[in-house]
Structures are given as C-alpha cells and as structure tokens.
C-alpha cells in the first residue's frame, strides 16, 4: 500500500477524528433488552444427549468458529465398571460428525457429555486477564473484548474446563458467548436451536417463570468441578461421577 505525502496529510486529521468512534464502538443493538433482568446459564440434560453433533455444527456456523476449534464440543465417556475414576473419553473432531457406534452389551457405561463455557460467576479466566479484555457481564455471561485482548493466553490456561482457545487468524482469545447476540434479541442459543432432543436448554435464573427452577428442585443436577468454586452456570442433569 502506497500513501503519498499529500494523502497522508489529509488522512492524519481524518484518522484523529475517527479514532473516537473506533474507541466508542457501536451502540447496543437491542434497545428493549435490560441486562439487570437476566442471569443466564445453560441446562445440559445428559440422559437426552444422543451425540449427533448438531450443536457443534450449529455453533460453528453461527459464530464462524474456525475448523479444528470449538466453542462447544461433545465427549463420549466410557466408564468401565472396574475403573470408575479413570473413564476413557473420545471426541473425534469435537463430535461434529457424531461418534462411532457402540455394540449392545459392551462392558461399562457409555454416555455423551456436551461441553461448553460454564459462564462462571467467579470465573478464573476473567480474574487473570491483565488488561480487562474478558469479563462477566451484568447478566452473567463471560465475554471477550477482541479489540482489547492481547492474545497472551493467560485465560486459556486459567480456564479449568478448557473452553478457550486463541483464534488462529484474529490472534485473540475466543470462546462461547452463550450466543449473546441471540439471547439479547429474545432468541435461544444456536446449539439449543439445533439440538433435536432438547438436551440443551438456555436458562434465565432471574426469570421466575423459567422451568429451570422447577427442574432444579426435582432433579439431581451438578456442575463440573464444583471443588474449584467457580460458580459455574452450566447445569448438568444426570452427570456421572467420572466426568471431569
């Protein structure tokens, strides 16, 4: 790119004027959405998951996730009856194209576990960010500001669930946004939209009419790695004790 001296002299004041707009960003696109009215989470119903990989494909389409990287992925656990604490886990291409079938009568228990960002209330990833590029929004979603992120990858190391990666072309941290651009417009997330069995449900804990409240009363629901006190908001129903 060649810029002549004349062009540069014209451009410099223009850039100085435009800089403010670059910093200010675009205004919020959903005027009727009030952040203080919501506290988002996700319910993952393991007994309903069939491991079809629809959620993974939908997420990649919706969010332009590059190949080989995943904002959500599905794992298949094989928990042997003899080694309860060391399950065998596979996730070929994030479970995007499904899983090899398991013959009836195989030893142990097989089941699918969809994984994603847990949108923790006390998230370890936001605590380590040196520049304030990742944060928990007032409605409980952990987001990344790509314009502020340095790509230092501290957060990638800090996430106990392995939910973050460095975007291969943008060179900044990237992860599930809980489809923030959808839920603020009254839609559900792309993975919930594409799930054929309802194994994933977007939940709003601040909405008293959300079925999650009844569900939490009547089911045995766990979060991943509760000992880490992350305040995770991905609620797993029927979670096997071997899941890490």
């Amino acid at each position: 790119m060649k810029i002549s001296r004349r062009q540069l002299l014209i451009l410099l004041p223009a850039a100085a004027v435009a800089w403010k707009h670059v910093l200010a960003g675009t205004p919020e696109d959903s005027p009727n959405y009030k952040m203080s009215d919501h506290w988002w989470g996700m319910l993952i119903d393991i007994p309903k998951c069939i491991g079809c990989g629809n959620c993974v494909r939908a997420c990649q389409t919706e969010n332009d996730v590059p190949d080989g990287f995943f904002r959500t992925w599905v794992e298949r656990y094989h928990r042997s009856d003899y080694h309860l604490e060391t399950p065998e886990v596979i996730s070929p291409d994030g479970g995007k194209e499904g899983f090899p079938s398991v013959k009836e009568g195989e030893e142990g228990k097989f089941f699918f576990v969809p994984k994603m960002c847990n949108h923790c209330t006390d998230s370890p990833c936001t605590q380590v960010c040196p520049v304030g590029a990742t944060f928990v929004t007032p409605d409980g979603v952990v987001l990344i500001d790509p314009k502020y992120c340095l790509g230092c990858a501290y957060c990638v190391q800090a996430c106990p669930y392995g939910c973050r990666y460095i975007h291969p072309t943008k060179k900044v941290a990237d992860k599930c946004t809980l489809c923030y651009h959808r839920i603020t417009k009254g839609l559900t997330t792309a993975c919930c939209e594409a799930c054929p069995t309802g194994a994933r449900q977007l939940v709003d804990l601040k909405n008293p009419n959300d079925p999650i409240h009844e569900f939490l009363k009547t089911h045995t629901v766990q979060i991943l790695k509760p000992q880490m006190a992350t305040g995770a908001k991905a609620f797993y129903n029927g979670l096997d004790g071997s899941v890490r």
């Binding site: 919020e28 079809c52 990989g53 389409t61 332009d64 899983f99 398991v102 987001l143």
Partner: protein, 222 residues
C-alpha cells in the same frame, strides 16, 4: 552547590559569620528549589499522562467494571444466522402442519436444513476507502466477514442445502449403546440395506402411517 560553597570558602574569613547565616537562610531555600523544579516536572509529566490517558482510554471503560462497556453492545450486534422455526413456518405452512403432528415436532427446521442465513463465498474485496485501508494497515480493524444472505429474503437463489438422508438420519438414529434407551435407533445397513430413508419415511413426520394421525410421542426440544 558544591562549587558555590567552595567559592565562598575562598573569600575572606571576616565575613564568615555572614556566610553561615546566609547559608542557613538562602542556601536552604536554594536546595529546596531543586525539589520544586523536580516537582514541577513531575506535575507536567502527570498532566501530559492525564491528557493522553483521557484520549486513549475508551469512554466506556469502567462503565460496568474493569473492562470496556461498549464491548457488550458490539458483541450483541453480531449477525444472527439461525432465525428459528418461526421464520420458516411463515412460508412453509404445509410442512409446519405435517411436522407438528409427527415425532419430529420438536426438532427445529434448521437442525436438519442448516441456518437460514448463509455466508456468500468470500470475495476478497479490498477495503473500500483510504480511511479503512489506513485502519487495516494499522491493524485496528479486524478483517471483515463475507456478507450474509437469507433464504427468507431471496428464496429462489439462496437455498438451504438439501440434507442427504443417509448421513442426516443416520447421525441421530444409528444404533449405539451410548444413546439413551428410549431413543429410536436402527442399524442402517440391516434396517434398509441402502434404500434411502425418505423412500419409506416422511422426514417431517417419520413414523410410518402417522402423517395424518394425532400427535405421537414427541421427542425434541421445547
């Protein structure tokens, strides 16, 4: 200061008393003068820092916490690609009717047909004007994604990919001991020996003979 002291020592001894007195009054103030100059420099440096900081730190930083508040709005403004089954049902009412009666009532259209919005093949167009080029040159602008088109806006030219039933149906319904017991599963080779699923099953209401029936046991979401 040392030099001045030395010089003063070369003077005659008779004004020794005055010299001592002067050092106490003026020399002390002279020392403090250095500090004042330094303090002045410090104040100027701080003001320069404050002015630069005012320009560099985004207005919305700290609005909600230690981050740029405007980032929330920017992320919320991302384009939607899965429009939801309501968008499809506005035109495809016949299929919506069939589907609501069938076992796939709660499987959303886009779960099989893909998102209603599609990305146009990436046209590597250079940024339009000089300002954009300058931003791109400075690395301030992310490379733009190719534009989105919707099947709803242009139903003739933008069409969802017709799903290959051998792949699509098999993804969910291939028998596996890892799947929940109540979920309908078959061994495709054994079940149809290569005959496409849609030969016998209507994918929108897959239970054979249920097309005009009442609601069967519905799987799926919501």
């Amino acid at each position: 200061m040392n030099q001045k002291c030395l010089r003063s020592q070369h003077r005659s001894q008779d004004n020794f008393g005055r010299r001592v007195k002067g050092r106490l009054l003026m020399g002390g103030l002279k020392d403090a003068g250095h500090l004042f100059r330094f303090l002045g420099l410090f104040v100027i440096a701080f003001l320069v820092f404050w002015v630069i900081r005012g320009y560099v730190v985004p207005k919305s930083f700290g609005e909600y916490g230690h981050y740029r508040g405007a980032a929330i709005g920017e992320i919320a403004a991302h384009p939607v690609k899965f429009a939801g089954h309501q968008a499809c049902e506005q035109c495809h009412t016949d299929i919506a009717d069939t589907k609501t009666k069938g076992a796939h009532a709660h499987v959303n259209c886009e779960a099989c047909h893909g998102a209603i919005f599609q990305r146009l093949p990436a046209a590597a167009a250079p940024p339009a004007n000089l300002y954009q080029r300058l931003l791109a040159f400075a690395g301030l602008q992310m490379p733009a994604d190719p534009p989105l088109v919707s099947h709803a806006d242009d139903p003739m030219s933008v069409k969802p990919v017709k799903p290959d039933s051998a792949v699509l149906c098999a993804r969910c319904h291939t028998a596996s001991a890892a799947k929940p017991k109540g979920f309908p599963q078959v061994d495709p080779a054994e079940h149809s020996s290569g005959v496409p699923c849609a030969t016998c099953h209507n994918p929108h209401s897959p239970v054979i003979g249920s097309d005009s029936g009442t609601t069967t046991k519905a799987g799926g979401a919501k």
